[in-house]
Symmetry: D2
């Protein structure tokens, strides 16, 4: 697989030279200071080969990428009952919009916008303490990545708690519609810590292997469920930039405001890319460009 | 490929027995009288094999499926300049919603909602007479289907013209924002006739072959463009039911209120299904169920 | 009443010296060329005294002020049945917004936004020819003003017809919801001509006397109906600037994009003011300032 | 003034016999148990005459009527600077809507919808403890009513705190836009207690005298400010039922979900009415009917 390795080196070089690197998210103070000049990429191929380039060994805050793992847990716990509380359609609004929640009576459009992800966390949390939920989530991620060295950055979680007024608004609003089982403080406590998980590109690419479903790869969930999670990542994984990502990259993916993106080439590869600067939709500017190049060069688009 | 043939027979039998067949669209009087008990499916495989079941030889009104062909023409004519006038994101609203057009200053969200499709038709129409545009569109569809026997039903077009107040509202609204080059009457004249093209399932599946991009198949447009059209069908092809279709079927598709759906399994098959009864999002109820069964049984989902 | 006369002179002087005169509406080409340096005001007191200052004898296009007269006719014709087709609440959106019409199923919020006014005209028009409707409207206005020299400017009506895409969109949208009895073209033909009535400030102030309901004044409609029309002018007469007008002026009024405003001080005065430059809500900038001064100096606010 | 006394008796009799009494608000548990069969009305005339009928001596929770007193304090404290943080337009949405807050970047439409009232309370609260704010508010109300026996019901405040998720959502949302100076918990602590003030109809009618501005009456604020507060009550005092109230009653008023309404007939009377059952807009059903009768019979509409 020398081909992919070379492509990754070219991508890393191109990204190192990029001038417009987007803008680091500043609404989580603890993340605002991250150096925007970083870029990393890691690819795990179907045969298990691992390829990296750039800052692939630097841990970053996975933020909303955690929603993929939480959704997987929630579907394992509740199955299709989850869909009574959250929809499966792209939202057409920003990730933290509350407007649609009013129009649609407290049912978030999908599990990847913030409101939907808070419902997902709340559903798994059930009556348990946030600590237990976070323990289960970490166990799942570590198992998927086959790596115990994955942790939550409590300073980031704390920073988000202190400034997360929009998320508090969403949680209280969900409560007002009876779509939150736990008190808003508790659900958000779990949610903010979940978002503060830190991983390297290589760890994240490994953790995504179960969504690639390669021959002989890990089988953490059924084929049917993998397809559905990938479908949701394709239509909703990049908020109101999801159509654009599908158009340019052609692969299911989930971004986080920390600048990471997990991208799945079904049957072929699990890809993690990271660069802290974001575009106007809140998705990594260079990360998106990098996976676009990779998908085109490798011929991995699911669309032909 | 006996396997697929058998699957199609089983699907046709299941659909013949289905009780909840959805509701035939009644806002186009000429279509309201179509017998809801019909169901047809046609598949063209990558090797050129053609398989049919049910009423695959009955012509039906392709309606919004025509937007795929019009978009292909528009991209051929304007290239990426088209995207200055129409977006590439799922809309989150119904196919004929005007609300978003006001919020977003006359730029339709994507080329598959009505407002966007009117812009696409207007862009191809340019200063030409609707007759010329329709001639070009029919030539393209006939070439793609390799079949000269494809026509426009002028009674359907007339029926739509007389009752198409929402589309007239959209066209005038686009004009108000300077996003329509032709007078609303002329652009809609072309649009209503485009929607009134009639095809059988087999003709439609053949016409979709260029989006499958099989080895040795027709190469009407570049690989890059095929991928992009498929991506748009995946994220926007079923209006506010696009997420659901991706979740259940896992293939790019475009539906029409006549009850047809064109579905592409990239590299594997071009599929056309038709049954006149619609679900709440305006997409064929049995058609959706049928391609869901087919995709699952054949293992064609792009999501693994 | 020397007091009011002096106030009017002071107002006219202040307005002549004003630097920020707003912006003349440019979306109706025929009106775009009006000289923004004009200002006129006319007041008819309860005892019949008439006072004028500035360009009070220059005819201007009354535009949306005509909605008050059309509403009066409609209530005379249909009574409370009118309210099945149009609401009585402020809209919170711009005068030509279509968004709310979609959210509220084709029932315009009130008779003074464009959509509502089109419904009102349509209701009076019934099956008659626009010519008959316009004849009736002119007769009513002339009777109210006691002046036969009031006419429709057909060039303005024609100009509006050619550029009135937003109004065409509204009319077709109303049709789509079954809330227009006449074909959109016919209803709008009547509507555009109604808006093109030309009057001087003095004529308009006289025409408004029936809403003042002074002792011995004209009694064209019942006291109950006068109160209700005034109430609608207070809450909805200035589109999304209605709250501001009530806050600053404290009197019911109806503005038009021609720069005129009809203002009623119940029991005390009928006031017409005109200056072509508009503020951001589409209401006369100097006209609003002038009636604010007048209401304060004369102590005419209904709010104490 | 025997006339008004007789009208009040007739009104009280009519209301006692009314069958459709609306629905008692149930989202504040502590208020859900109030007996819907109660009705009271009190009128203070310009000459100081006080007239009552029905349950005019029964204390009720004034709820949103408190927003009038808080606004008066805020204008006294901040003057026109207040309008940088809150608008003056009717909202067109329900009292607790959050949608508009997103569309308009955290600036509530007016001081009488919940979001706007929370901003007003927050502005007066400044850095002080809620206890101090509430002390100041009670002193103001008691002075206006000339009655020391007016208190806060802490059980009601507590009940609202426990179930007020929509208000918590609004407060956090305001914080997210930087339009809340105090922590949401503290601002809402003050707000919920402010809403839990209890008064009788007679106390409330007396407290409203300063807005009537009768000769020799209390002069707590300037004439200019009184007019502006009355204007806001007219256009925004009944949420998305404000237009209807102006249309039917023709007087400025402010309702509360406890079933009370404070209504001002400028220069003539201060009126308080109470009946716990609400109409669909959240305003007292019988209270509205009662003041409609009173205004018509007494000829008090400001609209002629």
């Amino acid at each position: 697989m020398t081909g992919i390795a070379e492509i990754l080196e070219e991508i890393a070089a191109a990204m190192a030279a990029a001038e417009d690197r987007g803008k680091v998210a500043d609404y989580i103070p603890e993340l605002a200071g991250v150096d925007p000049n970083q870029f990393g990429i890691a690819v795990v191929l179907a045969d298990g080969t691992e390829l990296v380039a750039g800052d692939a060994a630097t841990p970053f805050s996975i933020q909303s990428i955690s929603k993929v793992f939480a959704l997987t847990l929630a579907l394992g716990r509740l199955g299709d009952r989850l869909w009574q509380r959250v929809g499966r359609e792209p939202s057409g609004y920003a990730f933290n919009s509350i407007l649609q929640l009013e129009q649609e009576q407290g049912i978030p459009r999908n599990p990847f916008i913030n409101a939907g992800a808070i419902v997902v966390t709340d559903a798994v949390l059930a009556g348990h303490a946030p600590r237990e939920y976070l323990g289960e989530l970490l166990r799942f991620i570590r198992m998927a990545a086959d790596d115990e060295d994955i942790h939550i950055n409590r300073d980031v979680a704390k920073s988000e708690t202190e400034t997360g007024h929009r998320n508090f608004a969403l949680a209280h609003y969900l409560s007002a519609f009876g779509n939150l089982m736990n008190p808003p403080d508790r659900a958000l406590g779990a949610y903010f810590h979940q978002c503060a998980v830190e991983m390297t590109c290589l760890q994240l690419a490994r953790a995504g292997r179960f969504l690639m479903r390669a021959e002989g790869g890990p089988r953490l969930v059924s084929a049917e469920r993998v397809r559905r999670i990938n479908a949701l990542m394709m239509t909703c994984g990049h908020y109101d930039g999801s159509g654009e990502f599908a158009f340019r990259v052609g692969l299911p993916g989930k971004s986080g405001v920390g600048g990471g993106i997990l991208v799945i080439a079904p049957g072929r590869a699990s890809i993690a890319v990271w660069s802290p600067g974001l575009n106007e939709n809140g998705n990594s500017q260079l990360g998106t460009a990098a996976v676009e190049m990779l998908a085109r060069r490798a011929g991995w688009s699911v669309f032909g």
